[in-house]
């Protein structure tokens, strides 16, 4: 079949079963948009900024597990998209982002809206392509989707010059693909697995350290089963929230800088760590030389470069987590006696009792933790939770009762303010039957506020709950703790009327000061079935606790803040 480059792109998306594309047109990608207009395989959603298009595709991918797709034009369209690519790269989201480029004959001439897009995206994508001839396009598209979703997932960027989008060529789109150089390892080495199980059987104080890989590998059921069979207590990273259900008796909670006491103590006192797809981020480990220093480490990851990057590992296993745990389960059943760990579990449960996650509720002013807990109580697993970045993000991770993987969607690795609203739109497109909640801050929400228009136009109801402290709260907290309260450029008392703001876009807004007002606003916002903003005025100076100060040790947490 002979098609032009733009038609090839459309056909490839159809073959890849893409249902929605987020994007923003411009000169270099107009041929593609002309074909978008003519087709009805997928829906194209016009965002109001390219960064938001990529975040929306990212949210879509994280919620659905499928590859998210975004289109942007050359030059500024592409550079606007870079933050989105970097966000997806750091959190290993499968995505294909297509950018227009100036015609091949003009590349290198500093043409209008020309920028070296593959040069810029190279360090923040899993792979990228500059298409030099239309004959390569079908193969490149096929490879891009394959690379994005296999192995350790990640964003792939394809830069297509305008003349290539018009050139005619033969379109053959293979069902299967084999690449000469790229072959991820899925099966764990059986000898290593055997050794790992033996190490677990010999250990007295093992801990499961669950990371985002458990979600990418769709391994939640296997992780739950493994925990149940072995009786080994578990901690989750920010990216792994929801892998174990919140009321699982083995789940101690999140670990790390704002993790709970028992989770961090479990890491500090463990004699064996079983790492299920985490990446030992510095926000998790604290001071490295003191991190889990009594523990031998079993590290399972599909990305070999992740293993041994930060800490030395005694039992490395390269493979797909789901696959590896499946292989571990029968051996674990035979060799591991869960009753052996009872004293260890009892100790950790005592830690949880002594220092649970807590906050001081108040009748005078709303506490952010209450707002999140309350939302969790009212909506539970009916809602998917997206966040922006800051204190509200940490409180959401701490206090929302997650019950399944892909329920919590947040920018963990890059920590991108402005991620929340567009990502929550992507989430809603992926799971229309769920309520899409975006917990955000009065700082973050303004970083992609223009997306209210997209949500109204494309009828994507998202409930934004602004935990409004009139501060860049997280930065303010560090200034309080470590900079003698010099609140340099963090005061946000100057702010818009968020209710009027959302109304001017055609959505609904609520201002909330009390618990009763919150309940009412949440109910009404959900029933409105349109984009909603609940501006919740909270205690301005509330801090996220406990806390491991940057570079501190996990076993030495700041449990409360004293003036």
């Amino acid at each position: 079949m002979d098609l032009n480059g733009s038609q090839m792109l459309i056909e490839a998306l159809r073959k890849e079963n893409v249902k929605v594309v987020f994007g923003y047109p411009g000169g270099a990608i107009m041929n593609v948009y002309d074909e978008v207009y003519k087709q009805n395989y997928f829906k194209h959603i016009l965002t109001r900024h390219e960064q938001a298009a990529v975040h929306a595709a990212d949210g879509y991918a994280r919620a659905s597990g499928n590859v998210g797709v975004a289109f942007v034009t050359s030059g500024p369209g592409f550079t606007n998209a870079v933050t989105g690519l970097a966000t997806a790269y750091m959190d290993s989201t499968p995505m294909v982002v297509i950018s227009g480029q100036v015609p091949i004959s003009m590349i290198g001439t500093d043409a209008f809206q020309e920028i070296d897009a593959v040069g810029i995206s190279r360090p923040c994508v899993k792979h990228n392509y500059l298409v030099k001839d239309v004959s390569e396009l079908p193969r490149i598209l096929k490879e891009a989707f394959y690379i994005a979703r296999t192995g350790r997932p990640g964003p792939v960027h394809i830069d297509i010059p305008k003349d290539v989008t018009a050139q005619m060529g033969k379109f053959e789109y293979p069902d299967e693909i084999k690449m000469q150089t790229y072959k991820p390892t899925y099966k764990g080495n059986p000898r290593q697995i055997k050794k790992a199980i033996e190490a677990i059987a010999l250990s007295k104080r093992p801990v499961l350290y669950i990371g985002g890989g458990a979600i990418n590998s769709n391994a939640a059921n296997e992780v739950r089963e493994f925990a149940k069979i072995t009786g080994i207590p578990a901690v989750e990273t920010l990216m792994a929230r929801g892998v174990l259900e919140h009321d699982n008796p083995l789940l101690l909670g999140m670990l790390g800088m704002h993790g709970c006491y028992s989770a961090n103590m479990a890491m500090s006192e463990a004699d064996l760590m079983i790492a299920f797809g985490p990446r030992f981020d510095d926000r998790v480990t604290g001071k490295l030389s003191e991190f889990a220093k009594h523990a031998k480490i079993i590290h399972i990851d599909i990305d070999p470069s992740s293993i041994g990057k930060i800490v030395d590992v005694e039992y490395p296993i390269v493979g797909d987590l789901k696959n590896v745990i499946e292989a571990m389960l029968p051996l674990a059943k035979e060799q591991i006696d869960e009753s052996k760990y009872k004293p260890w579990r009892d100790l950790l449960n005592r830690y949880s009792e002594i220092h649970p996650l807590r906050y001081q509720d108040s009748d005078e002013v709303l506490k952010p933790q209450w707002v999140i807990e309350r939302t969790g109580k009212l909506l539970g697993d009916k809602a998917l939770i997206t966040t922006d970045v800051g204190q509200h993000q940490m409180w959401s991770a701490q206090f929302y009762p997650f019950s399944h993987p892909r329920q919590f969607i947040t920018s963990g690795g890059l920590g991108t303010m402005g991620f929340g609203l567009p990502a929550a739109m992507g989430v809603k497109k992926a799971c229309p039957e769920k309520i899409s909640i975006n917990f955000t801050g009065d700082g973050s929400i303004l970083m992609n506020i223009q997306e209210l228009m997209t949500a109204v136009e494309s009828k994507i109801p998202v409930v934004n709950i602004i935990l409004n402290n009139q501060f860049l709260g997280m930065v303010r907290q560090w200034q309080t703790f470590f900079y003698d309260k010099r609140y340099s450029s963090t005061d946000l008392t100057m702010q818009p009327d968020f209710v009027k703001l959302v109304e001017s876009f055609g959505g609904v807004g609520y201002r909330v000061h009390t618990k009763a007002e919150f309940d009412e606003a949440l109910k009404s916002a959900i029933e409105s079935n349109t984009i909603a903003m609940i501006d919740v005025h909270i205690d301005r100076l509330e801090n996220v606790l406990p806390m491991v100060p940057s570079g501190g040790t996990l076993y030495n947490m700041m449990l409360e803040y004293k003036e």
């Binding site: 593959v118 040069g119 190279r122 360090p123 899993k126 792979h127 500059l130 030099k132 690379i147 690449m179 000469q180 150089t181 790229y182 990305d303 070999p304 470069s305 041994g308 990057k309």
Partner: protein, 156 residues
């Protein structure tokens, strides 16, 4: 941890931008490149890079893994048994006294590559540390310019 010198032979798809992926990887992650040579492998779609790098054990392990992780990487050879050679060219004014030059060239697998009106250019090919000593020794002929080619290596 101790810094070590390491020879890496990297086989990659010979395609657009592959060198920038590799040099970008080294630059972005703060790894050292002491020398880098690249050329296509005849009758294939592959190229061979010889990279001389240095770092502690942990860094060297990461370098190899990160190279592997690049999509166009076919193979990373990090064997300790390499035949490694480097070439150098040196330009010497003709008015010098060339006494002993022949013997020196012989000792370093060298020869006179070109002889012009004002200069001769000599070439040598030897182990990289012997190239060091050659370039030191040849100074007595007051060379006006010199260039080294970077190591090439084959695992044995």
């Amino acid at each position: 941890m101790k810094e070590m010198r390491r020879v890496l032979s990297v086989i990659v798809l010979n395609e657009h931008g592959v060198l920038s992926r590799i040099s970008g990887l080294f630059a972005g992650r703060g790894y050292n490149i002491d020398s880098l040579t690249v050329a296509p492998i005849p009758k294939t779609n592959l190229s061979r890079l010889t990279i001389i790098t240095s770092g502690n054990t942990k860094v060297l392990e990461q370098i190899v893994k990160q190279l592997h992780k690049l999509i166009p990487t076919y193979k990373v050879i990090e064997s300790s048994a390499f035949v490694e050679k480097e070439m150098a060219l040196v330009k010497i004014p003709l008015n010098e006294d060339f006494n002993g030059l022949d013997a020196m060239l012989k000792a370093y697998n060298g020869t006179i590559a070109n002889s012009g009106e004002d200069f001769i250019v000599v070439m040598v090919a030897d182990d990289y540390d012997r190239i060091d000593s050659f370039l030191k020794a040849v100074k007595k002929y007051n060379p006006v310019d010199m260039v080294r080619g970077g190591s090439v290596a084959l695992d044995i």
